[in-house]
Symmetry: none
Subunit: 415 residues, 2 copies
């Protein structure tokens, strides 16, 4: 029988859009790893009745209720007194918690306030969960085979508490059925076209294996989720399904599971001992940023010339003045020259160039906003292609950069 | 009477921790701007009974129910048929939606699939909401003075739909008391130091005007929210409060309301008819990306040399080989040379350079991960400064770029 969890996040700052809730995302992924299914996430404010109602509702649906937030030392922190009330329990001094809080203050050489001392008062009904990185202990309640767990909202305190203590304890107590996820990552094909291509395969999936399409800028992830009792069986079944569908879509697949396109490209460059450089115009550094986000990218990334101005294209990338006047900066001739020149100037094996009209201004009838030329150049070949993206500046920058990465993937070592 | 909203996010990928939900965060902030209070956010999976139950529960508590996700063209997208069921309504072809989807495909020169054509089938009970950036139309339902709004989960599609169409419509329908927001934007001062500086002023704020601190990478926004019945009065009161606090903090203030530091810098350059170029090492293009996100930046941004490799620093920025060996690439001498050289090579009035250790590797005892040198150079002066940021690669890139922008603000035209 599957084990269900719900996550309750408490805090006005999240409801009002001042703090982005990344905690519940992280918790979901951790629970998923041990096969516990999160069936609902709820965010509510710092108000008594809403908090108590949400406890009751969650208890009626889930086996495990995880609560974050509202454990601070100030008066707007309601989670602890309301959990005490919900479990008909009094707040009493937990000596061990007090010792831990005192040790924490000693370690950072700070004075402990009465408010902090008050954080060692816990409902008698709960087991304390040690918070190694902060002053608010976690709490573990059990009643009628349901578990309530309260954690602080500070991300690193919560993460350590959960990873070090709670996940192992939950795994031991609950896990017998298993869930297995696999991800196929595609680029350069729209969701609907991909769905058409794999329709027959999708329709024939067994009922215990579900498929989801997860699109983002120029990429679509296909997620297979398998439910069962034996992880080895699920792994084998999922792999067989992946092997069956890959021939239909292999030219769009750049990786699996946690692979990212920037990382995959870096690995290819490392394996082949080649280096990369960019000549960016309309993307203005965004493509370089994607590549240099990856730790260790200095091993294969030489650098870029961002030639935003006409005269920089001429001076730093040897683009011919007359050619640019005649064909325009957004043209096949110019991107080809940019890609070749950056290879030579930065002495890289591969050069990629982008020139386009990001908008909102600068469009013409011939070349509307969203027109982008991209070129790939290595010692054996140079290819250039024209794309038509959107009317939105930021989207055009993102689509152009993703498409340039895909152009590398398609052309690099393709012979 | 306050107007309450709930946000329902539909998608297994969010429950399982594969996609971080940033939509509901953004939506909350937008609704807050027009005085609509979000009282609960719920995330549920792609399952019929849970979706229908969540509709009913939200309707019992809130005036406005905003739903994102599950509107795609594939079979796991349940939101539209379930909304039709919930409103006892049939799916019929919406001619206007079809025309919009066709126009979208025509614009990007792609073939439309049957699945996409199916997206023009909408519940008869709803009003279509135009999606200018994608194929899934939004839907607006009204019944018993409650409004249900369904939007696609793709962030940019949702944001355009909400900002351009839904927020104005909701404001017109619901907002009667008035709320007035003002924002003071600071850079280069930590939140706690800022709070100490303005403590007296903050304590004296009238009860109908609220202050919030909104920190992000190297910046802190101070938001004043005034509640009342006469917008002109609130505007005057807010302005008087701003005028009173500015003398205390003016050297950290770069703008107000929707001002962004990148934009403010661009305006200064336009006014003074000066141009800018960057030499980036550890930020790898991110600084250039921030500047070129701004529409019209080609008027003052010449370009950049991203000198990630040692030999690119030497070849493209004339950094002396022996100097780099002796002092290291992350040194005052090297950033000063980079800033001067990029001014000369790209013929800009101002050059800014960054060289640092982003991590996770490359740190030493002398220069741990997070050590970053930044230099500013114009015809009258060159200044360089060393910073120590964090252990996290992405944070270091963001802090270094923001700090470089602040260095420009402080030094440009300061005489």
């Amino acid at each position: 029988m599957p084990i269900y969890a719900e996550i309750i996040t408490i805090g006005d700052e999240i409801l009002y859009g001042q703090t982005l809730d990344t905690n519940s995302h992280w918790m979901s992924a951790e629970l998923d790893q041990i096969g516990i299914k999160v069936i609902r996430k709820t965010t509510i404010g710092d108000r008594r009745s809403e908090i108590l109602t949400s406890f009751k509702e969650a208890e009626s649906r889930a086996d495990i209720i995880l609560i974050t937030g509202g454990l601070g030392p100030t008066s707007d922190d309601l989670t602890k007194p309301l959990l005490a009330e919900y479990f008909n329990s009094k707040l009493i001094l937990n000596e061990e918690a007090l010792a831990e809080i005192e040790a924490l203050f000693k370690r950072v050489n700070r004075k402990m306030s009465d408010a902090n001392r008050g954080q060692a008062m816990l409902p008698a009904a709960c087991q304390k969960v040690t918070n190694r990185y902060g002053t608010a202990p976690g709490m573990w309640f059990e009643r009628n085979s349901k578990v309530f767990i309260a954690m602080p909202g500070v991300p690193y305190e919560m993460k350590h508490m959960m990873a070090d203590i709670l996940i192992p304890r939950l795994a031991e107590k609950y896990v017998d059925g298993v869930i297995h996820h696999r991800m196929i990552k595609t680029i350069g094909i729209p969701e609907s076209t991909l769905a058409d291509l794999i329709n027959d395969w999708e329709m024939a999936l067994p009922t215990h294996i579900k498929l989801a399409y997860l699109p983002s800028f120029g990429q679509v992830k296909l997620r297979l989720t398998a439910f069962g009792s034996d992880i080895a069986v699920l792994q084998k079944e999922s792999q067989a399904l992946i092997d069956a569908v890959i021939p239909t879509i292999d030219k769009y697949v750049f990786g699996y599971d946690n692979d990212e396109i920037e990382y995959v490209i870096g690995q290819k460059l490392i394996q082949s001992k080649k280096t990369l450089a960019f000549a960016e115009s309309c993307t203005g550094g965004y493509l370089s940023h994607l590549i240099t986000k990856v730790p260790g990218s200095s091993a294969y990334f030489k650098g870029s010339i961002i030639s935003y101005a006409y005269d920089v294209k001429e001076r730093s990338l040897d683009v011919n003045h007359e050619m640019m006047n005649e064909m325009g900066a957004v043209s096949e001739e110019v991107v080809v020259q940019m890609a070749k020149a950056v290879r030579e100037k930065l002495q890289s094996d591969v050069g990629i160039s982008i020139s386009g009209i990001a908008g909102p201004d600068g469009g013409t009838e011939d070349k509307p906003v969203g027109t982008v030329w991209i070129a790939y150049s290595d010692k054996d070949k140079t290819v250039a292609k024209k794309y038509q993206f959107t009317k939105d500046r930021i989207l055009n920058i993102q689509f152009a950069a993703t498409t340039a990465l895909n152009m590398f993937r398609i052309n690099f070592l393709s012979e």
